[in-house]
Amino acid sequence: MTAERVLRRGHDSAVLRLSEAEAAEIGNDPDTPVDDERVLLNMGPSHPSTHGVLRLMLEMEGETVLRSKPVVGYLHTGMEKQAEQLTYLQGPTNVTRMDYAAPLFSELAFSLATEKLLEIEVPERATWIRMLMCELNRMSSHLLFMATNGMDLGAVGMMIYGWREREEVLRFFEMVTGLRMNHNYIRPGGVAADLPDGWEDEVIRLLDITAPRLDEYDVLMTGQPIWRERLQGVGVLNSDEALALSATGPLLRSTGYAWDLRRHEAYLAYDEIDFDVIVGTYGDCYDRYAIRLNEIRESMKIVRQIIDKMPAGDYRVQDKKVTPPPRVRIDESMEALIHHFKIFTEGYKVPVGEAYASVESPRGELGVYIVSDGTSTPYRMHVRGPSFINLQTMPHLMKDGLIADGVAIISSVDPIMGEVDR
């Protein structure tokens, strides 16, 4: 195995390195002959299969894709700049809007990085609640992938089924956090609220509904000859190439490379949980589909263990510096009211330093790098978005394939544009 092809720079590279201005000039100069065989084609930014606002500049010869360039930035709203104006308490509200299919992971990475700087340890129950919510979120994110991947490949019914199952998870999120998405639930110091009464029954009901439906997916897609024809051998990447391109998550694991931060850098309490890291063999679209489907099953396994092991105790750290007083205290104590007001207006000061924390999001390694200058807002906050970095593999996966396979490839990389553009 070699990563030679991803290191190429010139015309034999899969990446089309062409600016807008240069592309607009093609054919304008009468002295330069135009290559009639090759066409530059724009796909997106508004295209049903581009998952939001991804635009691809494709160099085509007939129906074959030669070189391509993902053009991003349509959703860029300067969230990293924004983070410099927001306090650490407001931080999760900001980052949760990045990967909107898996918002809890961004909140978790942000909180872990802040906690590293604060040097606080969150209570055990908070850790386990975080783990529960994140695994459920992994399920909902992968279910969304099942839906959109099915839709992109013509299994339109699958879109409704995937959405239906995801909604069950989101209903539980709404019960716990008050919101279906953009929860702002995981915060530095713990979580925003304890799990409501009867959460176990609700989660078990959810798992019992989902398990047989995943088996239905197997009937509808996994074993289907048409499904296999569309995906097997399409968009192949080997381990060396995936590593060289900084790819993580299902994209890296599909090449047979077992690397999962939950296992290899066990954060939260993943070292107390029994689960398998799902890997593929061929690094094609089919492997990436199968990995995500089986990761839903692994997440369900993890969630069942969490239900059994959920410890009692506090859901947030009892450190007055970072934790607002309980709501009932505000009515009876002036000091509590002032304390509450101070924390929510000024925020709390975080010691000088820098910290990087990463978690295994459904799309790969999601890292947050925070530089603190000792004030209550981060001096700099950077998010290592796995979608953004995994997008670099796309030209290599699409090279010399058909444009119809391109749709399958975009889908199987599973980029969330909110995280790409930030």
Partner: protein
């Protein structure tokens, strides 16, 4: 980060020596000046430990300090030593930073700092290379030939901070429009200074 109290970790991170011992060591400005104590150096760069790192990753994460001239050499030495993946590459503009920066003493502070995070999957170790980049000449060599995954990240740093990566295959903006003027994540780039495209309503009563 408190530079005076900073500790340095050796490669195995088994023992820590106070930074004061390292003060006399030369920084990695010139190629021939690499004779510092091995416990405080790695790939020719000064090593410090990560402050406030949580227990699971403690000792498996360290920070290397270098400058634009030493950067490529440190990076290639790290790759040769098994750091097989570039995890992250970003920059920080320290223009308005009032607190101590946590750099080893004697190491020149510059306005920009490019932070390259690498991982060694074999040993599970992570390193962060903090590279000082001057404001007068915001440029660094690209690590594309070592890890082609740096392409988009270096473009993002160029787009947001105006740091140019020499020998990069496509040094262009990535998130902002191609004809954008200014570098948004610089500290002297104000928030909200962009003229709004909407015109005032003509029929205000």
């Amino acid at each position: 980060m408190v530079s005076d109290e900073e500790t340095t970790a050796d490669e195995t991170a088994d023992e820590e020596t106070p930074a004061q011992n390292v003060d006399a060591e030369p920084t990695v400005d010139t190629d021939d000046d690499r004779s510092a104590a091995p416990s405080a150096e790695r790939y020719g760069a000064i090593v410090t430990d990560v402050q406030g790192s949580a227990a699971p990753s403690a000792g498996r994460e360290s920070v290397l300090h270098t400058d634009a001239e030493g950067y490529l050499e440190v990076a290639s030495a790290a790759q040769a030593d098994g750091f097989d993946q570039l995890i992250d590459l970003t920059a920080v503009d320290y223009l308005a930073f009032a607190a101590p920066r946590g750099l080893p003493q004697g190491h020149d502070e510059e306005r920009f700092e490019v932070v390259t995070a690498l991982i060694n999957h074999e040993s599970g170790e992570r390193i962060r290379i903090r590279v000082q980049v001057s404001a007068d000449e915001p440029a660094l060599p690209s690590v594309f030939d070592l890890w082609p995954g740096s392409e988009a990240l270096e473009r993002e740093v160029f787009d947001m901070f105006g740091i140019e990566f020499g020998d990069h295959p496509d040094m262009s903006r990535i998130l902002m429009p191609e004809d954008w003027i200014g570098f948004p994540l610089r500290k002297d780039y104000a928030v909200g200074s962009i003229p709004v495209q909407f015109k005032a309503a003509s029929n205000i009563r």
